[in-house]
């Protein structure tokens, strides 16, 4: 009997620490992964919170004018007195209308997509189906290399090569010969502007789109390509009717990812966009400005604003960019979920 007791006790002692240890390490793991998951939400939330808190005086001061006015003026530094609205004050004559920049951001982003999406799809399809196997590693390496070039390098190339070429050759020719087409006529400008921005942005987003859509195609559709070819389709029909519809959600995702990148791209755009203030583009060669670029280009003068309202208005611009990209992401997810449901995949 006594020996039985000892054996039971031994077993209990032998088992329970291991069990404890396991449940203990699992708890720690659960807490750590939970914290990590929470951190990503918390970081986004806190960034937005502090940005809004910092921009709050500007939000009150600017009101709806922020979205309806295209005049950005930090006011007269040497003027007397201050200008006060809703309890917040700025330098006399100040006006912080962001419409030029919001418009410029969406316009450059949208035009970039118009140029880049068809090109990227063509490149991705050819990399997957038509480029000879020997050349594929080289072509793929070039795409990845392009994606890895820092944006300031694209910007510098744009400044010293692209902009002079547009200003001296392309724009004068186009405005002279194709001026009757809307948005192609009028002033040829210096080369800095919408066309240069769209060109540079396209160079930057095409590799991203090519790489992501190529991977989606490689992952799922060689069998669909072959199925279509075996039914007597041409390779163009196989690509457009069998492969592309099957990767639609992946393509939409990659397009929106690239769109987000184009909206937020700062340095390269700043270097070629012409930094328009208070003017809307008249044609595709006109100077433009984007939210991201104007935050950098206006920062220095904003720091001279003793009232601080100019800096806070730049923060409000940052909030606007944040919200725009957030909306695009939400829309992208909605589209992808809808596409998944239609194609019968689990959402």
């Amino acid at each position: 009997m006594a020996s039985m007791d000892i054996r039971v006790g031994d077993t209990a002692r032998a088992v329970s620490p291991a069990a404890l240890q396991r449940s203990g390490s699992q708890t720690i793991l659960a807490v750590l992964t939970g914290l990590a998951a929470l951190a990503s939400f918390a970081i986004i939330f806190l960034m937005l919170f502090f940005l809004i808190a910092y921009a709050y005086p500007a939000i009150r001061f600017n009101g709806i004018e922020f979205f309806t006015s295209g005049i950005w003026n930090i006011g007269n530094q040497y003027g007397s007195g201050t200008m006060t609205r809703n309890g917040f004050s700025a330098q006399p004559g100040a006006s912080f209308g962001a419409l030029v920049f919001i418009f410029g951001t969406l316009l450059t982003g949208a035009l970039t997509m118009v140029v880049a999406v068809p090109l990227s799809l063509m490149v991705a399809l050819s990399l997957v189906y038509t480029v000879p196997k020997r050349l594929r590693p080289i072509a793929n390496a070039l795409v990845e290399l392009m994606a890895g070039v820092p944006s300031v390098v694209y910007g510098l190339w744009g400044m010293v090569v692209l902009v002079p070429w547009i200003g001296e050759k392309l724009a004068p020719w186009v405005t002279a010969h194709l001026g009757f087409v809307p948005f192609l006529g009028g002033s040829a400008g210096s080369g800095n502007g919408l066309a240069a921005s769209v060109f540079i942005l396209s160079l930057m987003v095409i590799p991203i789109m090519v790489a992501t859509t190529r991977d989606v195609m490689l992952a799922q559709s060689n069998s669909l390509f072959e199925a279509s070819m075996a039914l007597g389709s041409t390779s163009w029909q196989a690509m457009t009717r069998a492969v592309l519809p099957s990767v639609r959600s992946g393509v939409v995702a990659s397009v929106l990812l690239a769109f987000g990148r184009a909206l937020g791209e700062t340095m390269a755009v700043l270097m070629v966009c012409g930094a328009a203030i208070n003017s809307y583009p008249e044609n595709i060669f006109s100077p433009v400005n984007t939210i991201a670029a104007v935050i950098v280009s206006q920062l220095e003068s904003a720091l001279t604003d003793a009232s601080g309202m100019a800096q806070r208005s730049l923060a409000e611009l940052a909030c606007a960019l944040f919200v725009i990209t957030l909306i695009i992401n939400v829309v992208a997810r909605g589209i992808m979920r809808g596409a998944d449901r239609r194609e019968g995949r689990a959402a």
């Binding site: 020997r134 669909l224 072959e226 039914l231 007597g232 519809p245 194609e343 019968g344």
Partner: protein, 264 residues
Amino acid sequence: MIVTNPDQTSASTAATKLEARDLNIYYGKFHAIKNANLSVPQNCVMALIGPSGCGKSTFIRALNRMHDLTPDARVEGSVLLDGENIYAGGIDPVTIRHRIGMVFQRPNPFPKTIFENVVYGPKIHGERNKKKLLEICEKSLRGAALWDEVKDRLDRSALDLSGGQQQRLCIARCLAVDPEVILMDEPASALDPIATSKVEDLIDELKKEYTVVIVTHSMQQAARISDFTTFFLMGELIETGTTSSIFTKPKDKRTEDYITGRYG
């Protein structure tokens, strides 16, 4: 026609539908098929058997020029469809694949509705009339013994079907373009036994209207469904003949070794 057996004389009176002559296939420097000669009579089922990697799939893909899609594959020799070389200059591989359909190892329906899957081929070849397309759809699905199971849900996604149904849908999709020859590359290898037996019954029906060439990993399957059997080993076509002669009186020692289970 390679007559390897006197039993075959009755079958050899049937016209030759498809014929490979001196066919050599290379992947880069690798010589995958070595000088293969084969005749497939009309309205028969020809089974291609052999161990994994022997070249039977490589061979069947040459019969409708699918190797054109593989960048480093090279095909030499000729394949005659009704006596006409499909590799001759000026022949459009697209029209060849219209006449010689193919069903693949894994069911590969498009992520579209059942209806859109079946009429994909006819639509590509220019058929726009909705009523005509519905007729083709029904006829093809009946031909693939799938109509009764799906007639009430033609507008549902093909991906909701079971694996066996998906494979029969792929067969229906192939029938919809009204081919003369159907090539099948291990069509039942990804299916369960019940689905497999349905596909096998179907193949027996198909030969009334079509000529069928089928790659199979299973000798039992070849014995059950085919009229003729061809044995491949390491890129060589070893022996071809009626299925009964190959399985009962193989001429070549290697064929005998394979069918008695001496290689993989």
